[in-house]
């Protein structure tokens, strides 16, 4: 390609002709979603068995760092994703809600494991039957405890939700019902009435 036809530099050298090569066009919304999606900061909210699997997912073998979310924030004010990992007791419920309220908008919640999602096998006086009674949940990860792979799938599902969802929708709208469907590699959480 000869030098005459090819615009060499930016605006200063080639005038307005250079614009077509040096700008990407798109909506601001897409950009914000892209940024949000790739820098989700989870709060450490380990409760029970699932917390170990959550930590294992952050460990060297499963390596959550490749999704840009290896920094588990100890302070809820620095986090935008709460992974409720484990059974939520009646005593813990107010604490959980308080921590959720302390998180900055926008914020998401993954309910990890059946105990957090529905009370699991502990349908008794002590356990809250589903953390969605307290905070709005975006993704439910099935399993008791979910393996790190399941958690990573839930996180990828959440990434999709962030990418395809609305930018300014407030949380807690709709039922957000999620059912488990058998996929080729095991049960997959599927959100009903979304998108």
């Amino acid at each position: 390609m000869s030098n005459e036809t090819r615009p060499t530099g930016g605006l200063l050298e080639s005038g307005l002709e250079g614009l077509s090569h040096n700008f990407l066009t798109g909506t601001l919304e897409e950009l914000v979603k892209w940024a949000r999606r790739h820098s989700v900061m989870p709060a450490t909210f380990g409760l029970a068995c699932c917390a170990l699997e959550m930590m294992a997912a952050g460990g060297p073998h499963y390596d959550l760092a490749r999704y840009g979310m290896e920094t588990f924030r100890a302070s809820p004010r620095q986090a935008d994703l709460m992974i409720v990992a484990g059974r939520v007791s009646q005593k813990m419920a107010p604490v959980l809600r308080q921590i959720y309220d302390q998180m900055m908008e926008p914020k998401w919640v993954i309910s990890m494991g059946v105990c957090a999602s529905s009370g699991g096998m502990f349908n008794n006086y002590a356990i809250v039957q589903g953390v969605d009674q307290i905070v709005p949940v975006d993704v439910y990860a099935p399993g008791c405890p979910p393996s790190p792979e399941t958690l990573m799938h839930a996180i990828l599902t959440l990434h999709d939700k962030i990418k395809n969802g609305e930018l300014t929708r407030r949380k807690g709208e709709g039922l957000g019902l999620v059912v488990e469907q058998m996929g080729p590699s095991g049960p997959v959480p599927v959100t009903l009435g979304q998108g």
């Binding site: 294992a56 460990g59 005593k91």
Partner: protein
């Protein structure tokens, strides 16, 4: 070591030689602890009131640590009374993970029971299953086959390894040695891989059941064990280089959170905390269960009762567990992996296809469960955290009338105020970590 060793266990090693602990010593230790007054006895409401009515020139302040705090191992909450940076009194507040498992256990049949109890100590789930199963077997008055006993030993010792590796990881993390966390998780994954090969699950296995184990060891299990046994010594040597030789790590742990043997006995503390004081007590050797009287291993004891001893004991216990695992490899007998008692054991899968009676039997066992004679029994085993006991009252039905688990972490947590008394807040983190509580077991 055999069960019939002659060394007295009630001996406190002092600078002047061994001294036998007497009843008066233990009572005196209890009184000493009481006079020290390290336990903060203040309800939550009173704490809020005290905070409001605080006198301006009051030197002490009460702060809350947890229940959502990265270094409290889950949902432990500590109410600390501080003077400057020094912890004066402390109250561990638990119950944030109370799951009502003892009540749920009364609703489930004996066959379903391990599913429930395995979720108590989620770092060492096989131990709770074992305690539950041994108690049910005692009530049933049955003996499981040799092979099942050895499989149980193999699996629990593997689980002890993975549990102590978890401690290595979290202890390092709490002290700021984050690279140690990565190494600990790396090795734990390897141990979990073997458990998964055998039981099908990484955690909460429901593998040890009344009457034996759920399934026989799979083909090639020896390779899995050997791979781990070959890999671990080198990796543990790395830990040794990384941590034991490291001045910062030693400074953070040595002399921090010290406790005596008599104080431990007064508080009912067991496990590595008791052994770190030099008290030579391990249920595997002293009150053998399974076939621990037929294997050779050492009970590791410390001498200072501080955080570093507790860390070092756990590191050494991994080596001892590997010794036991190696002997399990050699001595694993052939035979049944569960008792051939029609009352307890469902018929094999192949029989169900050909026999209607077998199908009915299978259905009955899994819906109604088996009935256990009236009575009550308490059986204790040595879990990675101490004495893990299970107390079951049976009323002759197929559900336990009362199922109580004596959780070692629950009792060990009582040492926290005494360990922390007079130490810094930063040491508090190291102390919590060295007690190694698993909150699922504390709150049940």
């Amino acid at each position: 070591m055999t069960a019939t060793h002659e060394l007295p266990t009630n001996v406190n090693q002092t600078s002047e030689g061994g001294q036998e602990l007497t009843s008066a010593d233990v009572i005196a230790a209890g009184e000493r602890l009481r006079e020290l007054g390290a336990v903060l006895r203040l309800s939550e409401n009173d704490a809020i009131l005290a905070e409001r009515e605080q006198v301006p020139d009051d030197e002490t302040m009460i702060i809350n640590m947890g229940p959502q705090h990265p270094s409290t191992h889950g949902v432990l909450r500590l109410m600390l009374e501080l003077q400057g940076e020094t912890v004066l009194r402390c109250k561990p507040i638990i119950g944030y993970l109370h799951t009502g498992m003892e009540r749920t256990g009364e609703e489930l049949s004996y066959l379903q029971g391990p599913t429930n109890v395995t979720r108590m100590d989620y770092a060492a789930p096989l131990f709770t299953e074992l305690a539950f199963s041994l108690t049910v077997e005692k009530l049933l008055d049955i003996e499981v086959p040799e092979r099942a006993i050895w499989i149980r030993m193999l699996m629990t010792e593997m689980n002890r390894i993975s549990s102590h590796l978890l401690f290595m990881a979290t202890n390092g993390m709490d002290l700021g040695a984050v690279s140690m966390m990565l190494y600990g998780w790396r090795e734990r994954e390897e141990a979990l891989r073997f458990l998964q090969e055998v039981t099908g699950l990484r955690m909460n296995h429901n593998y040890i059941r009344p009457g034996g184990v759920a399934a026989d060891l799979p083909d090639g299990w020896r390779d899995g064990v050997l791979r781990l046994l070959d890999m671990l010594p080198g990796r543990l040597a790395e830990y040794d280089t990384l941590l034991n030789q490291q001045p910062i790590f030693r400074e953070r742990l040595q002399g921090v959170g010290a406790i005596n043997a008599d104080e431990c006995l007064a508080l009912g503390v067991t496990g590595p905390i008791l052994r770190s004081t030099g008290y030579d007590w391990d249920l595997r050797r002293d009150m053998p269960y399974l076939a621990f009287d037929q294997v050779d291993f050492d009970v590791v004891v410390g001498s200072y009762g501080d955080c570093f001893d507790r860390y070092a004991i756990r590191l050494a216990e991994i080596h001892e567990s590997m010794k036991i695992v190696r002997q399990c490899l050699e001595k694993m007998p052939k035979g049944d992996y569960r008792i051939q008692d029609k009352k307890v054991t469902p018929p094999p899968r192949a029989r169900i296809d050909e026999s209607m009676e077998a199908l009915i039997h299978h259905f009955k066992i899994f819906t109604e469960g088996f009935k256990v004679p009236e009575g009550e029994a308490y059986v204790a085993i040595e879990s990675p955290r101490g004495e893990l006991g299970c107390y079951i009252v049976s009323d002759g039905s197929s559900n336990p009338y009362r199922m109580h688990v004596r959780a070692p972490s629950f009792v060990n947590l009582q040492t926290l105020p005494h360990l922390m008394h007079g130490s810094l807040v930063a040491d508090a983190v190291a102390i919590i970590s060295s007690v190694d509580p698993i909150l699922g077991e504390v709150d049940r």
